[in-house]
Amino acid sequence: MRRNGAEDMSEDDERQQSPRSDLEFTSNKARYCKATGSASDHPDQVLENVLENVLHFLTSRRDRNSVSLVCKSWYRVEALTRSELFIGNCYAVSPGRATARFTRVRALHLKGKPRFADFNLMPPDWGAHFNPWLLAMAKPYPWLEKVYLKRMSVTNDDLATLAESFSGFKELVLVCCDGFGTNGLASFVSKCRQLRVLDLIESEVIHDGTDWISCFPQGESHLESLIFDCVEWPINFEALERLVARSPLLKKLRLNRYVSIGQLYRLMIQAPQLTHLGTGLFSPLEIAGQGDQELDYGTAFAACRSLVCLSGFREIIPDYLPAIYPVCANLTSLNFSYANINAEQLKPIISKCHKLRVFWVLDSICDEGLQAVAATCKELRELRVFPINAQEDIDSPVSEVGLQAISEGCQKLQSILYFCQRMTNEAVIAMSKNCPDLVVFRLCIMGRHKPDPVTGEPMDDGFGAIVMNCKKLTRLAVSGLLTDKAFEYIGKYGKLVRTLSVAFAGDSDMGLKYVLEGCSQLQKLEIRDSPFGDAALRSGLHHCYYMRFLWMSSCRLTRQGCQEIAHAMPRLVVEVIRSADMEMDDFVETLYMYRSLEGPRIDAPKYVTIL
């Protein structure tokens, strides 16, 4: 399940997931064709063997789920041949149930907290612990090779146990996880002799003081990918240098900001075979004094002929930027989202990046910088523009001008995340027409309830055009001043939308009704600060079993309303979450609702009430 090609941190690999995940098997038993039962088993056995061999080739989750519904025998064989297990909500099914059904799993992909937890909308220690899964897998899956966790809590002990329990363990990817520190990493890497991939992505790593880099076993390593750019603590550079020197298969290396450009140089000359590089600080640790020898960074970059993905640039000194010129022509992914550079500094680089498919950047480049991107990057598939200043009501370095330019220049665009202070319907409509391949459209106008600054109108028409014209759209995030009309459009045209994020939008219950009634493929719905109440939710209940989860915070839901829903839908877990210090009161601060085969979870903290 490694993402191939360009560095892609989007959540939108959901293509693989079918609307009815592995939860449906219990309710669908009746649909199974009657087994041939007492008749001779031989033909069935042959069939099953054939099926088993064929199904080994089936990798798509969605296809596998469909296959498992055909009949009992197909269900059984599919379960035997599923080697990659994806669980989109760790509370939807218990570890025991999952390991009982799928007995030959080699790779586990597990997701925990809902996305809005990233924005401090959920108190800490809510749950999503990896530990029960780890313990449940130790015996049934001795050949487990890979674990991918997103938004899960992992402890130091978990990491140690992971390495101890699975002798052939090869890949660990932790995205947006927390609860562990350098001690855990040290135990993990020292015990995991076959380790190929250790990717720590946007995770919070506690500083226990351990020098974990030194704990990699001596001798030649199998390491292919080492990503630790999110670790906010210094590392032992000499140990890292030795590690890189003895890792001939290393292709991906993303350094943290405690690695200076001089140190980066030393690593690069050891590893010219790198394909993905996170450059760390990208400046010297001290201000270069007169005594320092200026290294030829350009040569180091030029030697890395296979480099396709660059990131890092955490404290960039623009004077060093020209060093990357030699690799620009081959780059497919460039992440400047921590680099405070302006348009003039960007232009000489971006003008060489003809093959670029993924570009992450700060709005410091302004509309002018985006115009430069549009002029060169004709192959662009994914663009993310982050704000340097994440505040409302300030001047906008990027605006509708930048969006318009991108829509005209980068017509193959599939995914966009754009933070801005101002946006017009016109530009959004233009993008909907120029970029028909859009699958992900996330526009964040940072001023709440902001209308189109030119016409004064709400942003309904813009988002309406997106759902109307972008026929492949599966993920949408809306912002700005929006009336119920916008949701009417979304419900009417957003037939493939699986993930929808709403904030400070809508006028009445109708808005939510439109969405729940219209968006038949909706899986994940996250709403905050919008005037939707109990009636709206009730009208869409029929759809709730098809959704992975529903999040509503600071809306107009009452405890009573949520209670009724909990009674009406036994297989939904209805969690009411309140801030630690708030009293239980009539209005529900946060509702987090998800389907589950297990009923209420036992590890919920005090401030979570399961109705």
């Binding site: 809005f116 990233d118 924005f119 401090n120 909308l121 947006c176 946007e202 919070e204 999110c230 955490r314 404290e315 989202s337 921590y338 405070n340 700060l362 302004c366 982050f386 704000p387 340097i388 200043n389 994440a390 505040q391 409302e392 009501d393 001047d395 370095p397 933070f419 964040c444 940072m446 709440r448 994020s501 904030a503 400070f504 905050r528 600060d529």
Partner: protein
């Protein structure tokens, strides 16, 4: 320090311009700050640099008062705290990086302020001062200071001494300079300049 007694009302008129400048040259003053400020925020940053007296009298005083910011809402805009923290430190660095010092010129009724970080070396600073105050300095030489100029740039250092601008390396200068004073050549004789 004798200021010229001048009943020229225009010279003492409170406005954004400098003594002896027209409104047009006031616009030029925006350029030294270009390095960090966004083009449309230039005027705002320049107006902040003025003495509050002048700023209050200026027509552009509405740019001085920032619009009241909405109360920060939890989790909005939706940026992960990791990213916010990384960029926050960058921002504070950028904001506090300026070394603003007062610049006085003999004969001018009010002082100016400049950001020394904006300049990389002495010629740039001197050019900016020349533009700002409409004077010319001669060539700097170690032996003779600013030979042949009517005005001489000096600065007060951390020890409280008045020094000639240009003697020490640039980095040392900007880190020790507390304020600048553009002295009349005649007065500067005491510093060893030959005028």
């Amino acid at each position: 320090m004798a200021f010229e007694q001048d009943l020229n009302l225009e010279a003492t008129e409170l406005r954004l311009g400098l003594p002896g400048t027209s409104d047009q040259s006031a616009e030029k003053l925006a350029s030294p700050s270009n390095k960090r400020a966004l083009p449309d925020v230039n005027e705002e940053s320049m107006s902040r640099d003025h003495n509050s007296n002048v700023a209050a009298a200026a027509k552009n005083c509405d740019q001085e008062t920032a619009p009241p910011t909405k109360a920060q809402v939890v989790g909005w805009p939706p940026i992960r705290s990791y990213r916010k923290n990384c960029l926050q430190s960058k921002k504070t660095e950028a904001e506090t990086a300026g070394i603003y010092v007062k610049v006085s010129m003999d004969g001018a009724p009010y002082l100016r302020k400049i950001d020394l970080k904006v300049y990389k070396r002495y010629p740039e600073l001197l050019k900016a001062l020349e533009d700002m105050f409409k004077f010319k300095v001669g060539e700097y030489s170690e032996r003779e200071g600013y030979n042949g100029s009517e005005f001489v740039p000096t600065y007060e250092d951390k020890d409280g001494d008045w020094m000639l601008v240009g003697d020490v390396p640039w980095e040392m200068f900007i880190n020790s300079c507390k304020r600048l004073r553009i002295m009349k050549g005649s007065e500067a004789r005491g510093l060893g300049c030959v005028v």
